[in-house]
């Protein structure tokens, strides 16, 4: 295709000089938005996988003897329930470690009423009716409370979905803005080269011959801008990933996508250049139709 391109436009055009940079900035924003949406998707997947395969039961009874009695009854019921692979009581030290981020380091035996916490692991293929199980637990041990994380998970999922939609909106707006910018750039280019285009037209150049000269030019603009924007975004993502890993927070770490999941980034400059070229082609062809 490019072998047949008759390039009659001058190599440099000052009016188009900024176009690759603008496309680059747009691609930068687009890449970050897409990566953000992907991270949230990955996070939801990882959190869901962890939370749907287990739940916890608290036995909240002030009297120690009664609590031990109810804990034993709860454990017996849980282990007899089909689909439950394991149920174990967390040691006080483990519970204190879980509370440490909120309450700070406290010595064991401090006068803090801590409930007994039972961690329940489901077998991978099992589905357990947690509502029915909760009723049976309360009947067996009135101090038992089942927490299957549904309320918390529901809120997180809702928030994540809204953020994902917002990011998708940002991507759509960035793509539309890029198209508009290319159209403006192309029109400015057409105005600059109007006389050259008219001469080519009068010499018998077909529309496709003239528009190919713009195709090649705008493909190069899109590719240059795309590579710049994606490289910049890749650098920022790398920095953020390192920061998130160093923070060591499970919630944030769950959102870090695998490196292989980011390979699509490599396709963005190509997509940007093709989008830029097609936008330029349509704009030029429409303008040429106004000539006889």
């Amino acid at each position: 295709m490019w072998g047949r391109t008759l390039q009659f436009l001058p190599e440099k055009n000052l009016r188009e000089g900024l176009l690759p940079w603008v496309i680059g900035v747009m691609l930068f924003l687009c890449t970050l938005s897409l990566a953000g949406a992907l991270a949230i998707g990955t996070g939801i997947e990882n959190w869901s996988a962890g939370l749907t395969s287990n739940f916890s039961v608290q036995v909240v009874v002030k009297n120690l003897e009664e609590r031990t009695k109810q804990t034993t009854a709860v454990l017996r019921l849980l282990k007899a329930t089909p689909g439950i692979e394991d149920a174990k009581v967390l040691a006080d030290a483990e519970i204190m470690a879980l509370l440490a981020p909120w309450l700070g380091d406290m010595p064991l035996g401090a006068e803090l009423p801590i409930p007994t916490l039972i961690e329940v692991r489901l077998s991978s293929t099992a589905t357990v009716d947690t509502a029915a199980l909760s009723e049976r637990l309360i009947a067996t041990a009135p101090g038992a409370q089942l927490d299957d994380h549904q309320i918390w998970m529901g809120q997180i999922l809702e928030l994540a979905t809204v953020v994902q939609l917002l990011l998708a909106g940002v991507v759509v707006m960035v793509v539309l803005s890029t198209i508009a910018i290319v159209i403006f750039g192309c029109r400015a280019g057409l105005a600059t080269h109007q006389e050259s285009i008219e001469i080519m037209h009068l010499m018998g150049a077909e529309d496709k011959t003239i528009s190919r000269a713009f195709d090649a030019r705008y493909l190069a603009h899109g590719l240059k801008g795309g590579i710049f924007g994606v490289f910049l975004a890749a650098g920022v993502l790398w920095l953020l990933t390192n920061l998130a890993e160093n923070m060591g927070q499970g919630l944030i770490q769950a959102g870090i996508p695998e490196a292989s999941a980011l390979l699509w980034l490599a396709l963005l400059p190509l997509t940007a250049s093709i989008l830029t070229m097609l936008t330029a082609r349509i704009t030029v062809r429409k303008a040429l139709l106004e000539l006889m």
Partner: protein, 228 residues
């Protein structure tokens, strides 16, 4: 070869610039187009080199009615028409050689063939030493010779020149006119629009006179300049 019948032309909703224009250009003929400024010469030439369609009337190009021709068919006809402008309209970033080569490259001619033809033609117009010069470094006369070479490199059936001597001195005007006459003798139908009555008399070709949008044909006289 080319005929106009009752052709009228107006831009938008304005007055008619050309009214009931009728004439024909026979194969290998040479005509001058003369008339005062604002008479419609440039508009008529634009119709001749297919930059515009007429508002009314019939125009026949090489046996084809313009009204029935689809847009996609026009480039082929345009390639049979060479155009020379008063302001040259060369591509400033291309050399004389590259400017002249454009019409051949448009037709997909091979590189060697392009080189042979362009070098030969630039030598013929006396620019063998200026082939790789860019227009900015050429004189007005040299630019116009490059423009003429570009217009005729395809061996067009019709050559349209719009005030080709308007930006060159008297001596160069005579030399350019000799080129047009020589081309016509080689078989190219030629029409030259000019204000220069001396040049017109020097060639002695028939004159299409355009006044107030209407055209009349005056027969040619005896050339004054024996070289023409």
């Amino acid at each position: 070869m080319i005929s106009f019948e009752n052709v009228g032309m107006r831009y938008g909703m304005g007055n008619e610039i050309l009214t009931d224009i009728g004439f024909s250009l026979e194969r290998k003929s040479f005509h001058f187009l003369v008339g005062p400024s604002g008479a419609g010469k440039t508009t008529l030439l634009k119709l001749l080199y297919l930059a515009h369609r007429p508002s009314r009337g019939l125009i026949n190009f090489f046996g084809k009615d313009l009204a029935t021709l689809e847009r996609a068919a026009l480039p082929r006809i345009r390639r049979r028409i060479g155009v020379v402008f008063q302001d040259f309209r060369l591509f400033d970033h291309l050399t004389a050689f590259e400017n002249v080569a454009l019409p051949l490259r448009l037709q997909g001619a091979k590189k060697a063939q392009v080189a042979d033809h362009v070098e030969e033609l630039l030598s013929w117009v006396g620019l063998e030493d200026r082939m790789h010069a860019r227009p900015a470094t050429l004189s007005g006369g040299e630019k116009q010779r490059v423009a003429i070479a570009r217009a005729i490199i395809n061996k067009p059936d019709l050559l349209v020149a719009d005030e080709p001597t308007g930006n060159v001195d008297a001596e160069m005007s005579k030399r350019l006119m000799h080129l047009f006459v020589a081309l016509n003798k080689e078989g190219t139908t030629t029409i030259v629009a000019t204000h220069d009555e001396t040049l017109v008399r020097s060639v002695g070709a028939p004159i299409l006179r355009l006044e107030k949008g209407q055209i009349s044909l005056e027969p040619g006289g005896k050339p004054i300049d024996p070289g023409a």
